[in-house]
Amino acid sequence: MSLCDAEKTFILHGVAENFRSDGRDREGYRPIEIETDIVQHAFGSARLRLANTDILVAVKIEVDTPLPERPFEGKIEFFVDCSANATPDFEGRGGETLAIELSNILASAYKSPKTFNLKKLCILKGKKCWKLYVDILILECGGNLFDAVSLAVKAALFNTKVPLIKSVNIDGDNVELDVSDNVFDCERLDVTNAPVMVTVCKIGDNCVVDPNLAEEQCSVGSIVVAISQEYFSTVTSIGIGSLHAQTLCSSLELGQKVGIRLNEALMDTLSHITSDQDFGFLK
């Protein structure tokens, strides 16, 4: 989709006026819909819809050996799949660069032990640990992909149940794990500090959050900040274009402010999810 100059002018003036085309102000966020536990075969899953952006995340768990330099830590890996259903641009290898960019940002946002404690995933020092595979499927693109993906990942991790290990038998180099027979015997992951990402888009002289597709086209440059509680875990710029130092500071501030609010809203919603909800796309 490409916009004509007049449409861009309209959006630009709207942002300057602090009244965007759908009535939001610059800090306004569109309503989000979230659903957890919808993939039955996964250890944890979530689906998130932000206007037209649709993300499905599933978490799988496997037993692995820890890295030699980090014997006390488990592993986490992100994989993004841009479905060609989302936009025709993703056909073939089209979505690959975006997918790699997304998974790299997620990996760096979750790297710090202060955001997500991988030590909890260690089973036996240097021998066995859990490895989380976070699979992200982009079903529809309606702008603001980074924020939506990070929220969906956090919700899916919140929903993840790690099987409980009753005992570990060591026989020489052989390690045997005795997993609890009861399927419901499991542990939840602690995601209170898991980061949420906020894309701050510079349009004209002002910065906005949660841009839609049309607004993304008008942006001269944008940065993605990952906020864990109130701290930054990652800051990157996406797309072409550069930011003035002063703009950068103000957009970081805006990102932090919105990130904190977003995190609060998400945690509040997640804590109210009851386990007896019906689920599924169609019913």
């Binding site: 490409s2 007049a6 759908d22 009535g23 306004g28 979230i34 049309a214 402010k257």
Partner: protein
């Protein structure tokens, strides 16, 4: 100033939205369903149907329409099927030799020939080789136009024309997309709504919302855009409200025409523009609009 961020949980039961109630309910046929049993001689097969074992079956999901012997099934969701004379809004996707390709939400890109536009500078001008070289200066990729269907090619693609002062390049404003079947066909598709917004309801489901146009000095054939003009906050707010109202109506599968949009606008005034993005508000506005429409005497449910 800062708005609250709404994150809701969704479950299968809450996703089925309450449809704005209509007095009549229609049977919806699914593809493969028998529309008429043993329709050998008495009926003629129309769009959206096929014959199998003597029965007439639906090939799309939609409602049955009957004109005498002709049976057709009209789908809710479909690409735009053009008819001669309909007004559309489209986006230029390609500039070619003597023609522009236009995205009009139909199966194939539509064509706007250089010979079917009014070029700036007069009616009776021969379109010369220079005009062909200048084509990108009149309309370039991404530009929005309003046009009328002139004819339909044999492969089903549409040929458009803008040979009237009403049609041409669109200026500042915003475009929204809905299902083409939701736009009610009428004589007038250019509306100046009472609250300072003008609207083009394209038959192809593209709706253009713009600040009010003064029809007096509109004599250039529509090839200029005023990029300097800053639209005032009031008009901007009205435009945003109209946008959200139309999306609320479309979300609840209600027909879009001037009356329904004006009613929705009036009913939505208790919400702020941004609040209209919330699903509850959208359903509420649609229900209230439906209610008011049903009070009109001459209103027929379609």
């Amino acid at each position: 100033m800062s708005q609250k961020i709404h994150i809701r949980t969704a479950s299968a039961s809450s996703r089925v939205r309450p449809l704005a109630t209509t007095e009549k309910s229609y049977k919806i046929f699914t593809p493969g369903e028998v529309v008429i049993k043993e329709a050998n001689t008495n009926f003629v097969r129309g769009h959206g149907t096929y014959e199998e074992n003597g029965d007439l079956k639906a090939s799309v999901a939609g409602v049955k329409e009957q004109v005498n012997k002709l049976i057709s099934v009209r789908p809710l969701k479909s690409r735009y099927n053009g008819q001669v004379g309909e007004v559309l809004v489209g986006r230029i996707s390609e500039v070619q030799q003597k023609r522009w390709k236009v995205d009009t939400n139909s199966r194939l890109d539509s064509v706007l020939m250089l010979s079917s536009v009014n070029l700036p500078g007069g009616e009776l001008r021969r379109r010369s080789v220079e005009d062909q070289h200048m084509m990108r200066q009149y309309l370039q990729e991404g530009d929005l136009i309003s046009a009328e269907v002139q004819s339909i090619f044999s492969d089903g693609s549409l040929s458009l024309h803008t040979r009237s002062l009403r049609y041409g390049k669109l200026g500042q404003g915003l475009l929204i997309k809905v299902f083409p079947s939701l736009v009610k066909k009428s004589k007038i598709h250019f509306h100046n709504l009472p609250f300072g917004v003008s609207l083009i309801l394209g038959n192809n489901g593209y709706i253009w919302i713009s600040p009010p146009t003064d029809n007096t000095d509109d004599n250039v054939g529509g090839f200029v855009q005023n990029l300097e003009e800053v639209i005032s906050k009031d008009i901007r707010e009205a435009m945003g409200r109209v946008r959200n109202c139309i999306l609320a109506l479309a979300e609840n599968k209600m027909m879009l025409f001037d009356t329904s949009i004006v009613f929705a606008y009036e009913e939505s005034l208790k919400y702020s523009v941004a609040e209209l993005l919330l699903p509850e508000a959208m359903v509420d506005v649609a229900l209230l609009t439906q209610h008011r429409l049903s009070m009109l005497d001459d209103y027929e449910f379609e």
